[in-house]
């Protein structure tokens, strides 16, 4: 399998998008959106992280085996966060 070379033009488009998203997240944080503030911040951060993983880290053009390792890592992190928060966030429910 030959190596995929990402062109500088793609890297430039990605960095400009990342900078724009940074400006967007700061702008969104200054507005009162209620519970949407944290959701929007995390959605923007995850979009930025996804762009970095796919293009700067070449995950999009990596062998399937490598992609599986990346997805497994994110999946385990999700288990850690979701299962623990499912516990903490529902503890108050028992006092009805």
């Amino acid at each position: 399998m030959s190596e995929h070379i990402t062109s500088p033009r793609v890297y430039l488009a990605i960095i400009l998008t990342l900078m724009a998203l940074t400006a967007a997240t700061v702008g969104a944080a200054l507005a009162d959106l209620g519970p949407l503030n944290i959701i929007l911040a995390l959605v923007i951060a995850t979009s930025k992280a996804t762009l970095v993983v796919l293009y700067f880290m070449h995950a999009r053009y990596s062998p399937r085996r490598t992609q599986l390792v990346v997805i497994a890592g994110i999946f385990w992190l999700a288990i850690l966060l979701v299962m623990t928060m499912a516990d903490y966030l529902t503890r108050s429910w028992q006092r009805l």
């Binding site: 399998m1 030959s2 190596e3 070379i5 990402t6 062109s7 500088p8 890297y11 430039l12 990605i14 960095i15 990342l18 900078m19 940074t22 997240t25 700061v26 944080a29 200054l30 507005a31 009162d32 959106l33 503030n37 944290i38 911040a41 995390l42 923007i44 951060a45 930025k48 992280a49 970095v52 993983v53 293009y55 700067f56 880290m57 070449h58 990596s62 062998p63 085996r65 490598t66 390792v69 990346v70 497994a72 890592g73 994110i74 385990w76 992190l77 850690l80 966060l81 623990t84 928060m85 903490y88 966030l89």
Partner: protein
Amino acid sequence: MHRTEELYGQFQTVEQQREASTLGMWVFLVTEILFFGGIFLTYTVNRQAYPTAFGIGSRTLDLTLGTLNTGVLLASSFTMAMAVWASQAGKKKLITLFLALTLILGGIFLGVKVIEYAQKFEHHLVPGRSFAMPPEDVPAEAAATDPDLETHAQLFFSLYFAMTGLHALHMLVGAGLLAWLLRGSLAGRFTTRYNTPVEVVGLYWHFVDIVWIYLFPLLYLIDRHKPG
């Protein structure tokens, strides 16, 4: 085992060598995801438990410096990606240039971090005996919602220093790796057939960037719209 300039003896082709090395780096990065995951989890549990104190603590952070540093670190990821491109394209001088730029941007990030840490020490916002919340940062109704505000604000700053400190430590390791790459690059070691070290250090550098992509909104951008 025989070894040529570009191919280690256990591999048959440079493609196989490259795939094995990047896979190994990704496996290491997965352990790093779980390593940072634990502290992100601790942050999430405590922020959910003490939202008022975390909001007040977050608003004492310097938003301008935080945003500036986010831009600097993203730019360093771009120059790192360009160093990888230069090595793949066989442009030896450009490899050195982009590696040097990445190292400089990383240095600027750490320098700004030093300024921010110094401000926290000056303002008595470092957890410990001399910790004191500035009264002007604490809205009147905050004390009513959280009677132990000061303790919980210290929790925020403990996590702030632990998370950004751990991140800065990773940056220092990255800077060391970049210096090592620069030496190799100046010696002309990286070619279109052998550029795995540049690619692999690049993966590490981008990972550290991703950690900051999450740290920035989680630490600097809580309740920014509220007065105080």
